[in-house]
């Protein structure tokens, strides 16, 4: 991928992420915190970003969402192709719910 293209891809993903996050938080804040894995403070922060700020952040040239689970078992469950994938997802959900949320230092 050429570098200009790469920058664009990152920007678009950031934009999509921030806009989705804002939408989720506005629709149902508590469920959004769970889905996004973020704390109350970060939810506030994201919700209050103006469109201008969202655009500006998106162009930061680095991804704004980070790899969420550093847990081999959980990743294994999420990526498994078992016949019982429903059970694997349920198991993953139980484990993921216990993970600490992203918070602001």
């Amino acid at each position: 991928m050429r570098s200009a293209e790469l920058h664009n891809e990152i920007k678009e993903l950031n934009l999509a992420y921030l806009m989705l996050a804002q939408q989720l938080i506005r629709e149902d804040r508590d469920t959004a915190m769970f889905r996004l894995g973020i704390s109350d403070e970060i939810a506030d922060l994201l919700e209050n970003l103006t469109p201008g700020q969202v655009l500006k952040m998106s162009g930061a040239d680095m991804l704004l969402c980070r790899f969420r689970f550093d847990d081999r078992l959980l990743l294994g469950l999420l990526s498994s192709h078992d016949r019982e994938s429903g059970m694997a997802r349920l198991h993953a959900m139980i484990l993921a719910a216990d993970k600490p949320v992203e918070a602001i230092a």
């Binding site: 804040r29 508590d30 469920t31 915190m33 769970f34 704390s39 109350d40 078992l73 429903g86 059970m87 997802r89 349920l90 198991h91 959900m93 139980i94 484990l95 719910a97 216990d98 949320v101």
Partner: protein, 190 residues
């Protein structure tokens, strides 16, 4: 009764009716409505019929903790409790709000994944009451580290959850077998 009605604000009553209607839609039994609102039984009955178009089921609430310890209910109850814990610890919710939110997430997860939903709102509500009354607790699975519903008197050192170690006959209820036999034309029995 008369004084209670007189002292109650109309706004409060309006909120309670709304809350009760939400609970009824989610499948709550009359006992839950009586415990969670201060509306009279007559009003609740009327409301129930209006929302559901039928009379509420009679009889007692399920009162045994054992149900939550059998395989399928245990897994799903543990999922519900995970959501509930998240709502209490991270979203600062409590009481009925946390139960309703966790229950909605539970139903959504089960439906999205095409699984059989075994927990009713009434069961979920009872489950939280059992936790509050110290009749049930969560045990941490030794293998996956997840937290699962367990009897408060269970010895949970070295506990392994029903998902890490799926019992041979897990989920193969009589109903499932009948369904299976009907589809396959076989005559497997329990």
């Amino acid at each position: 009764m008369y004084t209670a009605m007189r002292n109650k604000s109309v706004v409060t009553e309006g909120r309670e009716i709304q809350r009760a209607a939400e609970l009824i839609e989610l499948g709550a039994r009359l006992q839950i409505l009586e415990a969670e609102t201060s509306l009279s039984r007559e009003r609740l009955l009327k409301l129930y019929k209006e929302v559901k178009g039928e009379s509420p089921p009679k009889g007692m609430l399920p009162f045994s903790t054992d149900w939550f310890l059998t395989w399928q209910p245990n897994i799903q109850a543990s999922l519900f409790m995970s959501f509930h814990r998240f709502m209490v610890e991270n979203a600062g919710m409590h009481g009925l709000d946390a139960i309703i939110k966790a229950y909605r997430m539970y139903v959504e997860h089960v439906q999205y994944n095409g699984m059989e939903q075994v927990l009713s709102l009434t069961r979920a509500w009872t489950l939280v009451r059992f936790f509050d009354a110290n009749m049930l607790k969560v045990a941490r699975c030794e293998r996956c580290g997840g937290q699962f519903v367990a009897d408060v008197f269970d010895l949970t050192r070295g506990y392994v959850c029903g998902l890490c170690h799926v019992p041979a006959r897990a989920g193969k209820t009589r109903r499932r077998l009948e369904q299976f036999n009907a589809e396959q034309g076989t005559k497997v029995t329990v």
